[in-house]
């Protein structure tokens, strides 16, 4: 009994310390760069990949990367800007990230629908048909 009380107390304390919130719907730059890298990163050179990963996966500053790799801060800055440009160029032509995000949005709508007890079977079938059609069009 005592141990139960103790862990419940700890749990309450843990909750009090946590701040939970949201950042809005706008995608942060580091997330956007990370997604572009996930899709098109293999098309960069090994050197570009190493530097760019430190920016988008590890959130390192230009100065830290410059010091680690023995190059100038300006050099890192130029390389990151060039990589952004290259990756965005692929996205402008291929739209893979854009399509991926649209499909993901439709899939989460399907998930929401399946968890909503107030939706009738007829509504559900109609919506599933519409959304699956939209998903197929993106593929």
């Amino acid at each position: 009994m005592n141990s139960q009380r103790f862990s419940f107390g700890n749990w309450c304390l843990h909750l009090n310390l946590q701040i939970v919130g949201n950042m809005g719907s706008k995608m942060e730059k580091i997330v956007e760069q990370g997604l572009l890298y996930d899709f098109y990163g293999e098309l960069l050179t090994e050197h570009q990949k190493k530097i760019y990963e430190d920016v988008v996966y590890n959130d390192f500053s230009l100065t830290e990367i410059a010091r680690e790799n023995g190059i100038s801060r300006q050099g890192v800055h130029d390389l990151v800007r060039r990589c952004n440009h290259i990756l965005q160029g692929y996205e402008d032509k291929l739209h893979l990230v854009e399509r991926f995000l649209r499909v993901k949005e439709n899939v989460s709508r399907l998930e929401e629908l399946s968890n909503n007890p107030n939706v009738t079977r007829q509504e559900l079938v109609q919506e599933v048909r519409l959304l699956s059609h939209q998903i197929l069009e993106e593929l």
Binding site: G24, S25, E28, D54, N58, F100
Partner: protein, 81 residues
């Protein structure tokens, strides 16, 4: 010791998920983390975060420097030095 508060990306490809970590700036590549003080999940709409307020304030008052994106998260969380 120069200490930074930064994001570290976890999760798999195309499903990013970040931990907010405290790490030494002078040895950034060794992967060692001093403390983990929260998470940031951009997969939800709107994107969500959890921050341990006490630890965040402690590290900020000890002189740890947050990166740009972590500063933004702290601002949304209402955490100041």
């Amino acid at each position: 010791m120069a200490v930074k508060i930064r994001l570290r990306r976890m999760g798999r490809k195309k499903a990013p998920f970040y931990r907010i970590v405290v790490a030494d700036s002078r040895a950034p590549r060794d992967g060692k983390v001093i403390a983990e003080i929260g998470t940031y999940d951009p997969n939800t709409d709107p994107s969500t975060f959890h921050v341990n307020e006490e630890l965040a304030k402690k590290w900020l008052s000890n002189g740890a420097q947050p990166t740009e994106v972590v500063s933004k998260i702290f601002k949304h969380a209402g955490i100041e030095k």
